[in-house]
Symmetry: C2
Subunit: 142 residues, 2 copies
DNA sequence: AATTTAAATGAAAACCATTTCTACTTAATC
DNA sequence: GATTAAGTAGAAATGGTTTTCATTTAAATT
């Protein structure tokens, strides 16, 4: 994965601001899904003036650009993580430590087959989210 | 699918109230995902006194009992649909008319294989949601 | 390097879906 | 039919997210 964030931002017609870069750096460093408020708290350590709406706005823009992605979480809160692959959003999330890892396996073909056969509809996108416990968290418990 | 709602409710230790049954009947009749407020509006036609919190509470309880299920939707609002299969939550949702249809295909084995091999974690659950346009909506456009 | 301008930001306020609280009502058991 | 635990209405509170608007900044232009 290429993490030349300034270049990525330019390609999306987003200005390269220190705050935007900081959000991406935080998500890269943590490799864990975070809520806007959690990101904001980490931002406050770097910037003396940083508003929560700025974090929300940027997360939404970065999400639209597929640099980061939202987690489908049962509660109302939003969670974001840095995409390891911008076009493929299949991931394993650890319910204990929140770590997000890519799953390369994709059943797109098989699903397409079934949808064509039974539902006779058109697929526009799909979500595969596997919830579980990551290697580290399993070892801690064992 | 067996839709003996009173029996299903009893099994979950939920009292069989007219309002609970009405929520299930509405979701069965519509076969479309609905928000709590949308369900509430339909309920108001049947009951002269019906509070929105009652709808929320019941939806949550029914969801815990796997009779109904939540949709993973980009906006913050909750959406529910009646499960066609209580143990298997793979579905195709139409982005135009909101119809929800079951997908029987399941890649659990393949995913399990990859998670064991690469991630070395433990799977607890998974979500497969396919978004698209259903047969009816495709034909309308064509 | 200074000028320009469209985009980004902070702070306060608004928004609104969801939850809580309390007193009242009802389903189910005996 | 009486009892009791569960369910409900209505009002108020909650809290995550968005809007507004005045100010600041990135970066294109001169």
């Amino acid at each position: 994965m290429l993490n030349d964030f300034p270049l990525t931002l330019k390609k999306l017609n987003l200005k390269v601001t220190p705050k935007r870069l900081a959000i991406l750096e935080i998500l890269l460093k943590e490799s864990v899904y975070l809520s806007p408020e959690e990101i904001w708290k980490k931002m406050k350590k770097r910037f003396n003036r940083i508003g929560l709406p700025t974090v929300y706005r940027n997360l939404e823009e970065l999400s639209e650009g597929n640099i980061i992605s939202k987690i489908n979480h049962p509660n109302r809160q939003l969670y974001y993580y840095l995409c390891q692959n911008r076009s493929h959003h299949h991931h394993f999330i650890c319910l204990s430590c929140r770590k997000v890892e890519d799953i390369s396996f994709c059943a797109a073909k098989e699903i397409e087959g079934e949808v064509k056969r039974n539902i006779r509809g058109k697929i526009l996108s799909h979500i595969l989210q596997v919830n579980g416990l990551c290697k580290n968290c399993l070892e801690k418990k064992g």
